[in-house]
């Protein structure tokens, strides 16, 4: 009914009350706690933190609860909260080489210093529904712990390749990187801003873009040089102190892809790097990011830019799911003023066209 569109205050209030009721579900079932979400839906929490670009597991869990498990909605809630926070400063660069590694694998070497550490992974599980989980009171037996003596240092695979001169060096820069949350992107954006954008881009979008490069749309022959995941320490240098202090540990995942490069007239053949670093245990995102990062280096490396994943403006301006969702869903807002104009013009065109079309048909 037309008047329903002009529902106004009462309709909105009623809709939100209904939403709250639906969110709670059957009151006979115990209410889920944010601590339960934080402990048991950890990968959802990690995704919300990564794309919300705000490392706060408690708020991410709350956002997931509030959004009824709609993760993009949860990401939006966290972003809207984040944007109001005052800024105290920027952290020092994270030292992922000093990571307390929970998982570390390389696909390019069978064994390497520090070893392959599988960690808590879905890899090699058989994807069979585990009906035991449906029963309550299921407590897994503790996983065996490694001998502390095995905790050797984990040098980076890409550093080992670089020592041999096989890895193209990155351009070092002391310039302060821009901030995609404060300054609108302009193109070409440059790699620092690109990586920022990708680090919080939609996981599905990054995955599809990365996948497209694997299927030949901007192929770049990747190998997983290394994925490492674990805790790193965040440090800041307060201006009044002038030296770095630790403010906490965060979980991150880093992926370094090693990609083929044929060399050019000025450079000998060597490997190039695609880089991914993301908040939380979001490995799929880190790998996707690394592939897309490498694809977006096409122009810099003198490759032909032909595929969507190599097009910086295309990738960066469509990666954000909060922007994309908002604009897509705004189609639900009333558009009857525009539509009325369309109606009038289509009617006018039809009125003008019809006699002519009929004459032509008659001839």
């Amino acid at each position: 009914m037309y008047v329903a569109v002009k529902g106004g205050e009462a309709a909105i209030a009623n809709a939100h009350a209904w939403l709250a009721e639906e969110r709670r579900g059957d009151p006979a079932v115990p209410e889920i706690g944010t601590d339960q979400i934080g402990e048991q839906l950890t990968l959802a929490v990690d995704r919300v933190m990564a794309e919300g670009s705000c490392y706060d597991p408690g708020l991410a869990a709350l956002a997931i609860k509030q959004s009824r498990g709609d993760l993009i909605e949860a990401i939006f809630l966290l972003r809207a909260y984040r944007t109001t926070l005052p800024r105290f400063g920027a952290s020092e660069p994270l030292e992922t080489g000093a990571m307390l590694v929970r998982r570390r694998i390389s696909a390019t070497y069978k064994d390497l210093p520090g070893g392959q550490v599988l960690g808590p992974t879905f890899d090699y599980t058989h994807r069979l529904l585990d009906f035991a989980l449906a029963a309550e009171g299921h407590a897994p037996s503790p996983a065996p712990e490694a001998d502390p003596g095995e905790d050797a240092a984990c040098p980076r695979v890409t550093a080992m390749l670089a020592d041999e001169g096989l890895m193209a060096p990155e351009q070092p820069s002391d310039a302060e990187p821009g901030d995609v949350t404060r300054t609108p992107l302009t193109y070409p954006a440059g790699r620092a801003l690109r990586l920022q954008n990708l680090a919080r881009g939609d996981e599905g979008f990054l995955l599809s873009m990365a996948y497209s490069t694997q299927r030949g749309y901007g192929a770049n022959h990747p190998f997983v040089g290394e994925i490492r995941q674990g805790e790193v320490t965040v440090e800041i240098v307060p201006p009044e102190l002038g030296f770095a202090i630790e403010i906490g540990d965060i979980n991150v995942t880093e992926c370094q892809m090693v990609n083929q490069f044929n060399g050019s007239r000025t450079e000998p053949p060597q490997f190039t790097r695609g880089y991914g670093l993301v908040l939380g245990r979001t490995e799929r995102r880190a790998m996707s990011m690394a592939l897309v990062d490498r694809a977006l280096r096409a122009e810099e490396l003198g490759e032909e830019v032909v595929a969507p994943a190599q097009n910086e403006e295309f990738v960066l301006s469509h990666s954000d799911n909060v922007e994309a969702t908002g604009f897509l869903e705004h189609l639900k807002l009333p558009h009857y003023v525009d539509f009325q104009s369309e109606l009038e013009i289509v009617r006018a065109m039809r009125a003008a066209a019809t006699p002519q079309a009929m004459r032509e048909a008659a001839e």
Partner: protein, 285 residues
């Protein structure tokens, strides 16, 4: 609205003063270069992108407790999104008065319409803009459209109008019809019906445009030349339904068409609810 919104501790009109200053600086630039899109550090708002975040940020950064705010969507004050945005400001801007009367408002935030009541000096129109780039359908690369604006290279837009006439016998854009501002910048008037385009020309009010998702602001200062693109022999014609408002009897306003039954029954009513209500009250008096 989110639980966080009910908490104390937000600044007047939600945005912190630093952000407001940043937006006002961009607005000053926009006013100084009429019709030119100015990038700004758009923030995530507690409303979704595409739902008026640009307009809300503009309003939030210019509003004061002494202002009187009117919010319309599709010309009406009681559409859901207008209600939602008005409630937002009522909550985060204590002391701010809201109104549904165009004549009373000092700031009018709008989506898709310009009020029928003529605006006056001192009033500010804030437009919500989904897509600030008038050339995007012809040239999607923003790096390239920026260059076209810099060079005032607008032949492409005229070609599009040519194609419309060649194919349909008339210019095909019935809303968001592009305008030239001050004879220099091609500008998207936001998706207002072409019926409203002439109201932008030489308006005594300051017109501000905010595109949150695309992170652009632009402006038309008072008494600025705003021309709808056309051809000499196919002049721009603002379009409206050929009907009479069923409520106030107006024949010169923009009308919404309402389907009254499933047998083709229709009637028309004013899209501007305030204007329509005023006319009805005058007729009754």
């Amino acid at each position: 609205m989110s639980a966080a919104m009910q908490n104390e501790g937000y600044n007047f009109a939600y945005l912190d003063e630093g952000t407001k200053r940043m937006i006002r600086r961009a607005l000053l630039k926009a006013v100084a270069v009429p019709g030119c899109q100015i990038p700004f550090g758009s923030r995530e708002m507690p409303l979704p992108y595409g739902w008026g975040t640009g307009g809300i940020q503009v309003t939030a950064s210019i509003v004061g407790p002494e202002d009187v705010l009117k919010v319309i969507d599709q010309g009406a004050d009681d559409t859901t999104n207008a209600v939602s945005i008005r409630r937002f400001f009522a909550r985060v801007a204590p002391g701010l008065r809201t109104t549904e009367r165009t004549v009373e408002a000092s700031i009018i935030q709008t989506r898709h319409r310009i009020p029928e009541t003529p605006l006056r000096e001192g009033q500010v129109m804030v437009y919500q803009v989904p897509q600030p780039e008038p050339l995007y359908k012809l040239e999607p690369r923003r790096a390239e459209t920026k260059r076209l604006h810099a060079l005032a290279d607008y032949g492409l837009m005229q070609v599009k109008l040519y194609e419309d006439i060649a194919r349909h016998g008339r210019v095909g854009s019935s809303y968001d019809h592009p305008v030239m501002v001050g004879g220099r910048y091609l500008m998207a008037p936001s998706p207002i019906p072409s019926f409203d385009n002439p109201k932008m020309h030489m308006s005594p009010a300051l017109q501000l445009f905010g595109a949150g998702r695309e992170r652009r602001l632009y402006a038309v200062p008072p008494y600025t030349d705003v021309r709808s693109l056309d051809f000499e022999d196919h002049p721009f014609v603002p379009l409206r339904a050929n009907g009479t408002c069923a409520l106030c009897g107006a024949r010169d306003t923009y009308l919404d068409e309402m389907v009254t039954d499933d047998r083709g029954g229709r009637l028309f009513v004013c899209s501007d609810t305030d204007h329509c209500g005023t006319k009805q009250a005058e007729a009754a008096a």
